[in-house]
Amino acid sequence: MNFLNDIGVQLDEVTCLAIAELLQSPSMGEFTREEWKRGMAGARCDTIPLITEHAKKLRERIPREPELFRRVYRYTFPLSRMQGQRNLQFEIAADQWNLFFTPDHGGVAWNTETTPWLDWWIEFLEGRGKKPVNKDLWEQVEVFMRKSLEDEEMKWWSPDGAWPGALDDFVAYVQAKRGKGSEMEVE
C-alpha cells in the first residue's frame, strides 16, 4: 500500500492493476521477489521516482492502447479471484468492470450514444441472479465491449457466433430494451 502511495497510484484505478500485471503479482498486494525484479528491470525502473514516472505513463497509455488494456484486463481475472475459486464472484467482477469501463479510473468508457452498455450489462447480470463470472465470459466481455463501441447496432453479432451464451442473451436484452425505447418515442 505504501509502495503504491509512494509511486502516486491509487488503489481504485486501472493503473494499479497495470502495475500488478507488470510485476506479475500472484494476488492483490502481493509480489514475489523474482517477478518484481524481472518486471522492474523490464520497465527499466530501479528507483521510486522512475517507477512513479512509469506509472504515470501507464496511466496515459492504458485507455489509448487496446492491447495493453486487454493484457491488464485479462490479468485482473486471476488477480481478483478468491483463493481457491475458479470463477470471479459477481460483486467483484462488477466492481472491476466499473473500474475498467469508465474513464474516471483510467479505463475506457463503455457507453455509446444510444446505449449505456455498462449499466445495462450490470443490470442484466443482476437480473439473472448475480452468478459468478467465469474466465471465458470475463475475457469475452472485453472483446464484446470493443465490438459494441465499433458498431453499436451490433451488425457483427449473429446467433450462431461464438459468443458465450450470456452475451447472446445480453444482446437480446439490449435489443428488447431498445425496442421499448423506440416504441415509446413513436408514441
Binding site: 467465469n134 471465458d136 465470459l137 475475457e139 469475452q140 446467433p159 450462431d160 458465450p164 451464451g165
Partner: protein
C-alpha cells in the same frame, strides 16, 4: 452390276468407256510431247438406263490435249444443266402431291442414270478429276457428285419450296387424321439427305441441305400446327383431357420419325413439341396438380409427371406442392387423432402417420416413377409432420414416446398378439416412422425401459421378434444405439444359466429341512450400466421367508463373483402366494402379487388384523408405495378396512377376509399403479436431458481431441453432424456445453473465435 440392271448392253458400255478412256489418254500423249495428236470425236451414244429414255449427248470437240479432261467434264455439266432445266419446266405443271410424285420419279431416274454415267466416266474420275481435286481445285467433283451438284443448283434450288409445301401439307393431313402415302415423304427425305455434300471433301456427305430445306421448315410447321391445336384444345377441354392429347401427340411424333423421317430430326422435333405442347402450358398443368392431388387421380398425376418430367425444371414446382400437400395431409391425420384429447392409443397415432406415408409412398412409386427427388420431398414432408404436429406441440419428444409405446404393445404378450409374419411387417412399419423421428434418443430411452420390463417380467411375445426389432434399430442407428439393449439380452441368458447352477448348488448344499421351508425362486442379475432401472425409492423390509432365500442366493453369488455388489430391485419383483386360510374354496386361491404386497400379506400369517402403522412399521414402506398397494388389496377384497370403506390412512385397520371369493383360482393383484406410470415417463424425460448434455459434451471433446484447434462455428457444425442421428441439437445448447467444457478446462478460447483443446 450392269447385268443386274440390264439396261445397257456390254458393247455400248464398252464403247462409251473406251471413248472416255481414249479421250483422256490422248491428252497424256500430248503432255509427253510425242506430237502425235490423236483425234477423238466424242459421239457418245445415248445410254439407256432401266426404262428411262434420258439422252445424254456429249459433243466433244478436238481440243488442246491438256484441256481435254476439263472439256469433257464441263460439257457433261452443261448437258446435265440442260436436262434439268427441262425437268424444271415440266415440273411447273405439277402441284402438291403430283409435284411430289414427279420429283420422286425424276430423282430416281436421274440418280440411277448418274450411277451409270459415273461408271462410264470412271477413267475421268480416276485421273483428271482426281488430279484437279488433289491440286485443291474447288468445284470439281467426281462425276456422280457432279450430278448431285447440278441437281441441287439447277433444279432443287428452284423447286424445294414448293416441294416442301407439298410435303408439309401432306404431313398436316396425316396429323389431321387422314391416311397419306408415307413412302413419298420418305423418298423426299432421302433425296434431300443425298444432296448434302461436304464442301471440303466431296466423298463425305453432310446433313446440311436436309436440315436447311427439310428439317427447319418441317419443325417450323410443326410448331405452328401444335401451337394452334393446343391453344384451341385447351380452350375447349379440361386440363386432364389436354394432357391425354398432348401425350398422344408426343408419341405420334416420335413414331413419325421412325416411319419416314430422318433420325436426325428426333431431338429437334421432340424439343419443339415439348416446348409447344408442354412448356407453353406448364403453368396451366401445374395449377391442376393440386386438384389432382386432392382427388387422388393417380393416373392423371402419372401423366402429368411424364409430361413435365420431360421439360427442363418442369417438376420442381410440383415437388414443392407435393411436399406441402403431404405435410398437410399428415397434419390433418394427426389432428383427427388428437380431437379425442390426450388419451388416445399410441397405435392410433402411429397408424395415422403410417397411413399418410403409405398412401403417398405408393403415389410416388406408381405415378412419379419412384423418382428420387419426389422421394425426398415425401421424406421432408413426413419428417415435418412426424416431428411437428399438434400432438407434438407440448413436447417434441411425443412422437418417439408414442412410437416406443406402440412398439411395446406389439412386442408384449397380450390378448391382441399378432401373427409372427404380421408382427414382422408391423415392425418394419415402425421402422418407417422411426426413420423420420428426429429425437431418436427419446425413442431409445422409452424403448429400453419397455424392453427392460418385458424381459424382467418375461412378457415378450417372442425372442425372435425382439431380436428382429433390435437388429433393425442397429441397422438404422449403428451398434452404439443398441449396445445396451443387446447387453440386456445377454444378461437374461446369463441369469438363466446362473439359476441352473444355483439349483445344482442347492441340491448339494441344502438338507431336507431347509428345502421344505425354501421359497422357490428365480433370480435375474442385471448389469447396472445397461439396464435403465433405478434402485427402489422406498426402504423395504422383506418378509423373512424371502430374506432367507435372498441371502442364500447372495451367498452363492458372492462365492462365484467376489467383490460384486447386488441391489435388490424389490419394485420389480413379484411372486405368488397361496391363500390356504380361505376355507370355502376347494382349491386354494393363488395370489399373484408384487413383493411389496407379499410383504404386507405375509404379515397376516401371524394375526388377522393389523393397523396401518403396524404394517408401515413392519414393511418400512413409504406412504407413497404403501397406500396404493393397500388400496389394491382392499379393492380386491383380500383385506377389509376397518372402519368399513375407509381409505388406507393411519387411522385405518385391516382385517383378512376369510370369505374371499373370485371366479378365477389365480388372482392377479400385481397391477401397475397409474401414478407410477406418470412418474416413470417424467423421469425418462429428465434423463434424456441429462444424456443429451453428456452426448453433446462428449462429441465436443471428441472433435476437439482430434482437431486440437478449431473455429467455433466449425465446431458447432461438426457437433450437429455427429449428434443429429440421435436428436437435432439446438445451437444455444451446443454453445452452453462448449462453455461448460471451457469451465472444466477441457478446452479454451483462443483469439479469433478459435477453440483449442487442452490436453
Amino acid at each position: 452390276m450392269l447385268n443386274l440392271d440390264g439396261g445397257i448392253d456390254m458393247k455400248a458400255y464398252m464403247g462409251l468407256y473406251t471413248a472416255v478412256h481414249n479421250f483422256c489418254t490422248s491428252q497424256k500423249a500430248v503432255s509427253t510431247g510425242q506430237g502425235l495428236q490423236q483425234g477423238q470425236r466424242g459421239g457418245v451414244s445415248p445410254p439407256t438406263v432401266g426404262s428411262s429414255t434420258t439422252q445424254y449427248g456429249l459433243g466433244l470437240t478436238w481440243m488442246q490435249a491438256h484441256l481435254l479432261g476439263e472439256e469433257l467434264y464441263k460439257l457433261l455439266g452443261e448437258y446435265l444443266s440442260r436436262h434439268l432445266s427441262d425437268v424444271f419446266d415440266k415440273s411447273q405443271t405439277h402441284t402438291e402431291e403430283g409435284l411430289l410424285g414427279f420429283y420422286i420419279r425424276e430423282w430416281e431416274r436421274y440418280t440411277t442414270a448418274a450411277k451409270y454415267v459415273n461408271h462410264i466416266f470412271k477413267y475421268l474420275n480416276r485421273h483428271w478429276v482426281k488430279r484437279e481435286i488433289d491440286e485443291g481445285k474447288k468445284n470439281v467433283y467426281d462425276v456422280y457428285t457432279l450430278h448431285l451438284v447440278r441437281w441441287k443448283d439447277d433444279f432443287f434450288e428452284n423447286v424445294h419450296e414448293k416441294v416442301m409445301d407439298a410435303v408439309l401439307s401432306l404431313i398436316e393431313k396425316q396429323r389431321n387424321g387422314e391416311t397419306i402415302e408415307q413412302s413419298q415423304i420418305k423418298s423426299i427425305v432421302d433425296s434431300f439427305v443425298s444432296l448434302g455434300l461436304d464442301e471440303n471433301d466431296s466423298s463425305k456427305s453432310t446433313l446440311d441441305v436436309y436440315r436447311k430445306y427439310f428439317q427447319d421448315p418441317f419443325i417450323d410447321a410443326t410448331k405452328v400446327y401444335y401451337e394452334n391445336e393446343s391453344r384451341q384444345f385447351v380452350a375447349e377441354n379440361s386440363v386432364v383431357e389436354y394432357m391425354k392429347k398432348a401425350e398422344a401427340r408426343l408419341d405420334e411424333e416420335k413414331a413419325r420419325v421412325g416411319l419416314y423421317l430422318h433420325p436426325d430430326v428426333t431431338k429437334g422435333l421432340t424439343d419443339t413439341c415439348l416446348a409447344v405442347l408442354v412448356t407453353a402450358h406448364s403453368t396451366l398443368l401445374r395449377d391442376e396438380f393440386q386438384v389432382l392431388l386432392d382427388n387422388e387421380r393417380q393416373e392423371d398425376l402419372a401423366r402429368m409427371y411424364r409430361l413435365l418430367s420431360r421439360i427442363k425444371d418442369g417438376l420442381d414446382p410440383l415437388r414443392t406442392t407435393f411436399e406441402n400437400h403431404v405435410r398437410r395431409a399428415g397434419l390433418a391425420a394427426v389432428e383427427k387423432v388428437a380431437t379425442d384429447g390426450e388419451n388416445f392409443e399410441p397405435k392410433l397415432y402411429v397408424d395415422a402417420l403410417l397411413q399418410v406415408h403409405t398412401r403417398y409412398q405408393n403415389l410416388v412409386d406408381d405415378a412419379f416413377n419412384g423418382e428420387s427427388e419426389f422421394v425426398r420431398s415425401l421424406d421432408n414432408a413426413c419428417r415435418e409432420f412426424v416431428n411437428r404436429n399438434r400432438i407434438c406441440k407440448t413436447s417434441s419428444s411425443k412422437s418417439p414416446e408414442l412410437l416406443a409405446k406402440y412398439t411395446d404393445s406389439l412386442l408384449k404378450k397380450g390378448s391382441k398378439s399378432a401373427e409372427e409374419s404380421e408382427l414382422e411387417e408391423m415392425l418394419v412399419q415402425i421402422m418407417t416412422v422411426f426413420k423420420y423421428i428426429e429425437d431418436k434418443d427419446v425413442f431409445q430411452k422409452f424403448y429400453s425401459k419397455n424392453l427392460a420390463k418385458r424381459l424382467v417380467h418375461v412378457s415378450s411375445v417372442s425372442d425372435d421378434a425382439e431380436t428382429s426389432m433390435i437388429s433393425k434399430l442397429k441397422e438404422a442407428c449403428g451398434f452404439e444405439y443398441t449396445n445396451k439393449l443387446q447387453r440386456m439380452f445377454q444378461d437374461m441368458q446369463i441369469s438363466k444359466d446362473l439359476n441352473n447352477n444355483y439349483k445344482d448348488w442347492q441340491d448339494k448344499v441344502l438338507d431336507d429341512d431347509d428345502r421344505k421351508r425354501m421359497a422357490d425362486a428365480h433370480f435375474q442379475i442385471l448389469g447396472t450400466g445397461f439396464w435403465p432401472l433405478n434402485a427402489p425409492t422406498t426402504p423395504f423390509l422383506a418378509p423373512p421367508e424371502i430374506v432367507k432365500t435372498a441371502e442364500r442366493f447372495q451367498k452363492f453369488y458372492f462365492d462365484k463373483h467376489n467383490g460384486r455388489k447386488l441391489t435388490w430391485l424389490w419394485q420389480l419383483c413379484k411372486g405368488e402366494i397361496k391363500a390356504n386360510y380361505i376355507k370355502n374354496a376347494k382349491v386354494p386361491y393363488t395370489f399373484q402379487v408384487s413383493t411389496y404386497q407379499m410383504g404386507i400379506l405375509l404379515l397376516f400369517n401371524e394375526t388377522d388384523t393389523l393397523t396401518y402403522s403396524e404394517i408401515e412399521k413392519a414393511t418400512t414402506l413409504t406412504n407413497e408405495i404403501l397406500d396404493p398397494n393397500l388400496s389394491i388389496l382392499l379393492k380386491a377384497k383380500v383385506l377389509i378396512a376397518n372402519p368399513e370403506g375407509a381409505k388406507p390412512e393411519p387411522s385405518t385397520a385391516f382385517t383378512l377376509n376369510y370369505n374371499f371369493k373370485n371366479k378365477k383360482v389365480k388372482v392377479n393383484l400385481n397391477i401397475q399403479i397409474k401414478s407410477e406410470q406418470k412418474v416413470e415417463a417424467d423421469d425418462t424425460h429428465k434423463t434424456i436431458e441429462e444424456d443429451r448434455k453428456l452426448l453433446l459434451q462428449s462429441a465436443i471433446v471428441r472433435i476437439m481431441k482430434s482437431r486440437k484447434k478449431m473455429k467455433h462455428v466449425q465446431l458447432v457444425q461438426e457437433v450437429i453432424q455427429q449428434v443429429k442421428s440421435r436428436f437435432p441439437p439446438k445451437i444455444p445448447d451446443i454453445k452452453k456445453n462448449i462453455e461448460a467444457l471451457m469451465e472444466k478446462d477441457y478446452i479454451e478460447r483462443m483469439d479469433g473465435d478459435e477453440i483449442s483443446y487442452i490436453a
